[in-house]
Symmetry: C2
């Protein structure tokens, strides 16, 4: 629960016992191996999941096997608050790495946030952020070149990891195959590889053991038109 606290607490000053309340909600802890499904298409979900550690992906697979990843989900991500008990999921969620999850009954979760206004505000804020990330994903794959797409996603993930870990570094640890990158960006695996190579030869990044180091953050952000403000990482100043 610490990662969720860190993330949600980023936006709102929460008194400890408001979190106490949240973390003491009845729940089950679960783990999934890389590639394992967490939510299948058609599932009716009456749980809220919170990622405690590891990466998950939200995606859809078309008939002929094409896959589109909608979003990467990092520690602190919670889903599916939106759908609650009503609708069938039109997409799937899987573990990208080894993942540990907290599973809370929707009704319990709902009761908790409805009795704690600050908590509700915090989760409202998380939902705003998620939606902004979705919108940015549309712009990325709709109107950006392969080079811009890859660079832009790298910078986004870098920032989002920073938000989880509490400090911004130049390193991006990507503990999953490039195929996920390709399916997130609407590109072929081959072209992602070529594009990363290009970014390297142009001095924007370099590969280090199992990850990528950003060498020219500003130039890279400029090149791919990355503006971190959409991530809404600044702190919420509540008027009351």
């Amino acid at each position: 629960m610490k990662t969720l606290m860190k993330r949600v607490g980023h936006y709102v000053d929460l008194i400890d016992d408001e979190f106490e309340n949240l973390s003491q909600l009845p729940h089950r802890m679960e783990t999934r191996r890389p590639g394992e499904e967490i939510v299948a298409v058609g599932d009716t979900i009456d749980f809220v999941f919170v990622i405690e550690s590891g990466w998950a992906i939200r995606y859809r697979i078309l008939d002929d096997g094409r896959r589109q990843i909608l979003n990467f989900m990092l520690p602190g991500a919670c889903f599916d608050m939106m759908s609650m008990a009503y609708a069938k999921s039109d997409h799937a969620v899987s573990a990208a790495t080894e993942v540990t999850l907290r599973r809370i009954k929707s009704s319990d979760f709902l009761r908790a946030i409805s009795t704690r206004p600050k908590l509700a505000t915090a989760f409202w804020w998380v939902a705003i952020q998620e939606e902004a990330i979705l919108r940015e994903q549309i712009i990325r794959i709709g109107r950006r070149s392969a080079k811009e797409r890859v660079a832009h996603l790298l910078l986004e993930l870098n920032r989002r990891i920073a938000a989880v870990e509490g400090r911004l570094t130049d390193m991006i640890d990507l503990p999953f195959p490039q195929a996920l990158f390709a399916d997130a960006l609407g590109l072929s695996i081959v072209h992602v590889s070529r594009t990363l190579t290009k970014l390297k030869t142009e001095g924007y990044i370099k590969t280090v053991s199992q990850g990528i180091q950003i060498l020219e953050r500003d130039k890279m952000a400029e090149m791919c038109d990355f503006d971190s403000r959409y991530l809404h990482l600044e702190r919420l100043k509540l008027t009351d």
Copy 2:
């Protein structure tokens, strides 16, 4: 307000006076000509807008003029409930056709839905639907061919218009230039034109005065893998 009632009322049975309350909220009516901006990038919005008539688009323009349309907004659409008073808008909203809008102060709106649980549920549903449309947009532009994209969007708009008008027809009235289609689908205007021509010669659609008629709905849905369930219209009883 009738269109919003029609839309929101699809999801929840609302007692009339719950709507009465909503429609009697202090508000201003505004109109915009085609192309006029409603919300600019960087605006801090403390209003909720409801589209009473006409089409609007939510979009972002990149430095070099490339434009990506995130979503089309039809009568009954309400925005930006999510952002409320806190955040600056990272995208713009403009009128695609002549548009009439109802503008409600966020605080008034918030108070109204927080005292009317059913109303809150109804708007929760609308938000779920909006998010599903965004996700489908990602899949469309990320992993579908031009032909599939155009067909898929046509079918989506057809269904969404049906939801507003209360009945499903084969006609799609598109009162705006194809350039909007191009910018929504991440394609060039030229290619949209070519693709529409192809859909015509293959017998899926035909053009009628200022609009498009769907000739082979099922074949077309099959071809582009369109499944209307993501629109969450199931409570609609359509005459098809």
